[in-house]
Amino acid sequence: MKPVPDPTGRLAVSMVVNGRTVERTVDSRRLLADLLRDDLRLTGTHLGCEHGVCGACTVLVDGRPVRSCLMLAVQADGREVTTVEGITPEDGLSPMQQAFKDHHGLQCGFCTPGFLMTLAGTEPDEHADEESVRDLLAGNLCRCTGYEGIVDAVMAGWGRSR
């Protein structure tokens, strides 16, 4: 990541997305979410509110869950970005994805990648009980499940019983 001494509208960025180096020239105002979705065609990251509340656009930046609608693509220059496509095994589902499937942790599935990315950036040990899991999930909204299946899935995905 280099300083940009002479600001212009378009900037070259380089970042590692799901393990691959990506270089693009982007408008300075372009949101990271739009870079991922429209430019890189990683459409598993969804935009639900574009103001940082719903969590559908959650991705990992340098391993930490962030809102990709509240980050400019240029701010991801030089960083490592992981999307739901990046946590999905070649053949099948990750244990947490499988737990969502087993426990009906999704219905329409629009919010689901955001939940999965929040969980992918979380240490299970820091969320010992159900109350703490619910706190963890508070930054991701789901309109279908009533969170029942999601909480079940997280508990199962982390090898706990509810």
Binding site: P3, P7, E50, L72, T118, G139
Partner: protein, 285 residues
Amino acid sequence: MKPPPFRYARPDSLDEVLRILDEHDGGARVLAGGQSLIPLLNFRLARPEVLVDIALVDEFSRLAVEDGVLRIGASVTQHAAETSDEVARHCPLLSKALPLVGHLQNRARGTVVGSIAHADPSAELPAVALVLGATMVVRSVAAERTIPADQFFLGPFTTALEPDEMLLEVRFPAGTAARTAITEIAPRSGDFAIAGAAGRLTATDDGTVANVALALFGVGAVPQRLPEVERLLEGENVTPEALDEAARITTATAEAGSEDVHADPAYRARVAGELTRRIVEEMAA
């Protein structure tokens, strides 16, 4: 909901940041974590000519305790402060307040200093700064100055910062002698508070209040101290009667101008009293 056009600068030195701010005379905005600014851009409610991204300025990432002062630089994230042992040890009120700020995905990018500079009347950290008597370190091309927290917040989203100035660092007095507490009521977890109260209290061995600072947030245009309540409590024991009186005076004296879809001023004033009672009770326990 896409941001309007702007130019983007990413200098790697403080001087360059200040030069750009100076050059644009209010047309440039500092971009730190962006958790307050980028929503405003997406709604097209903010239209800076230039965004000055401070991510490359190394010195802004400093979080350190020196000479009894916790210094938090402009690009220290809320997450970094929340998980910092130093913050927990030297500034426990800040540690308690941070989990109430937005959601974890916001705190991963949002900064402590940015939240204070944004001066949202319902935000927690400005009230924490006020209770703790924090000092704002501010600089422009021309000069550096410090502004005490009680002179920093002028109105909703309005501070004592001049257009060419930047808030470089917030200095919190370190110390664990005081007991501290913060509480708030919000429609849902992670939302901005409808009303909140934060406090710091020291008591003698027999329970007499030696010193207390209390502040409300979400209630009026700016975070506000409660001098009458503080005077009432100092030198006294925190009895149930004193708590009732503290709540009553808070409700009566709070500047509760905030009215929005969530609550009217009367509700905010009444709940401010109740929340004040609760934090004083907690701190005195």
